[in-house]
Amino acid sequence: MSEDRKFRWVGTRPIRHDGIDKVTGRAQFGADLSLPGMIWGKLLRSPHAHARIVSIDTSAAEAIDGVLAVVTATDLPDDDPKVADLARNILAREKVLYHGHAIAAVAATSAALAERALDAITVEYEVLKPVLSLEAALASGAPILDEARRPKDMEDTGPTNIAARCEFSRGEPESAFAQADVVLERSYETQMVHQGYIEPHACVVQTKEDGLIEIWCCTQGGFAVRSLTASVLGIDTSRVKVTPSEIGGGFGGKTTVYLEPVAALLSRKSGRPVKMVMTREEVFRASGPAGGAKIDLKVGATRDGRIVAGTARMWMEAGGFPGSPVQAGAMCIFSPYDFDHLFIEGFDVVLNKPKVAAYRAPGAPQVTFAIESLMDELANELEIDPIDLRLANAAKEGTQLPYGPRFKAVGMIETLEAARAHPHYAAPLGKNQGRGMAVGFWFNNGMNSSADVHLTEDGTAVVVTGNPDIGGSRASMAIMCAEELGIDVEKVRPVVADTETAGYTDVTGGSRVTFATGWAVIEASRKIASELCIRAAKIWDCDVEQVGFSEGHCLPVEGSGLDHAPLSVADIAKQMARTGGPINGQAQLNARGAGPAFATHLCDVEVDPETGKVDVVRYTAIQDVGRAIHPSYVEGQIQGGAAQGIGWALNEEYVFDEAGRLENPGFLDYRMPVASDLPMIDAVIVEVPNPTHPYGVRGVGETPIVPPLAAVANAVMAATGVRMQSLPISPPRLLERLLGAGDV
């Protein structure tokens, strides 16, 4: 249970422990390792978006002096159905399913030579018509990506590009709509976008003579890389060791594998360590973006602003293989609101685009763009303040979620109240300016974490976990350990360890590290505190029940009758050997009760009515974080998520030509926000403690990307009177609407 206590370190802002390495260039990222004898691997990628592979001839490449290995899908086993799609995404087997789909790989003594050798590989394709939109994928007579696929939970009507269907329902929405005074029925659309992490995927892999595979790579989860690589290669998990490097951003995109199994094959064939680094173009074409979506939404409300019923049907792009986050989207869309009658249906759709991966609150930004745009329209229609409308329907403790369970304490109402009280909400607007607001919700996640805390002989602590530090988590782990042991946070040394050193830990993602791994650190630190009491009891020759632990000291408990000066952690650490040996604490858990996080965002835009260009001129993001362990990094997550959401709303999108070739696979034309595109982003922390966590922590990282798409669109509506139901709101798209159809 979350404890009401006074914290010494929680809520402070110490300098992160890995900070100096990161500002001096010393930190080692994915592409920064070199090993003696290392060679370079490169991938041959499909020039077609959809084609059958007739034959691959690698003999000419193999004959080149300096080319030490060439591999194709035939070098991978194909007997584990659980990773069949993953293996085919890593190296195409029967078909290529998107432009840039990897098909063969070469390792050579230089990167330039490896690239030249790719040109010597001959692939014969039978080119097929590509499927490039949800509409095209679902059309009757559409080319089918996988003829054998039949989705579960659907009537079998023959081959389809629908890979899965999900449904959530409660009550009788269709008849309930009759009780509504206003019913709005709208369609919304978003395009494929990329996480846009600045560090391309990279790894160095060494396969040893005994078959052991050592991987150094930038990943959100060393253990995920270990298990996925072992499964794809068909070997025991214990034959793979993964050392996570520092990671240059991921946002969900570095939770799977692309290069590592291929590099392992190349290393095995060549007997050399192999480095593989994606180019930026490869990252855009062939890593895992977030899919576009189409959402049909219908909501009915009474004149006084109570929602009575809602229905939603949604389709999400999965890319070449099944697995869009449509189910999460379906579970999210109505979660902020409390009403009785609903029906939600979602479809996972495959098409000839890169296989999507997780991107920050997967599925939620797309569906929230829909529901929060519609809520804005409803507020206008009913002439109710948009915050009041949301408050009238807000989810709170006890609200039953569309997918069944009831909320425990959540902070939606608190973030709405904070938004209304914020000076931003009442600030005057200038010419061509408008204000929008939107709320957002994300479940957050628990999952598996381990932590080891080792006390050193001078009373400092080493905290070992397996979560790559993607945004300051070392500092959070150190704060929680320091809090429990009552020592200075600088006296804690947080370490991110490899898969043979740290206990099993799930990925850095799902807004789970500070929550779940932090919880493990708290538990492990408490074990150390208990052990310190045992040691103090030895020193004082008393019962351990007579010893208490407070603020970094063992001291006699009240009424024990003992009269000893308190012993500090350092005092006892000095006597470790003579009191029983080393003092280590270890804890592990499959964390339950990740508290969902709500946010309310306010956005002001200024629109150039003659060009359709939108500038975000003020932005406030308010979020319930449960408890902020290191407020600076909490704010940073909120600001960064908001900035990504603004990019998604305004300019980011994958642009494909008719043949399915990505036309903007670079930062120049993908158009993520640059420093001069954004205002300061006011991150407001609300703390409604998560009742499950010892400190009240909720995950933070994902919710901030959920509201901005609608907040921006609603602000554009307020500024122009034009409601954009399709993203991005890029200048040509907005101008077309501003001028009315025909003129542009």
């Binding site: 939970d153 999460a328 579970m331 369970p405 909320f407 996640n445």
Partner: protein, 82 residues
């Protein structure tokens, strides 16, 4: 008796019940009890699912205890979530 909420997509396997009452001290036992009454439910739910016990969501929690007064929701596993 614990109350089990059936996800709408699986109600077809349970004579369209929204809730059913079963005996069972753990998720595993609850599942077995539902499957005994409605054979095929377990198979339809599949291997990867999450479960909410009294509002708390668990991933991979087959052996989590379930109290007699508890409400249990079986949920499709959360894909992504990162």
């Amino acid at each position: 008796m614990s109350t089990v909420a059936i996800p709408s997509s699986l109600r077809v396997h349970c004579e369209h019940h929204e809730f059913i009452e079963v005996e069972g001290g753990s998720v595993h036992a609850v599942l077995a009890a539902v499957d005994a009454r409605f054979p095929g439910f377990r198979a339809a739910l599949g291997d990867s699912f999450a479960v909410a016990i009294d509002g708390e969501v668990f991933q991979d929690a087959l052996y989590e205890p379930v109290a007699p007064e508890s409400e249990v929701h079986f949920l499709p596993a959360l894909a992504g979530g990162i």
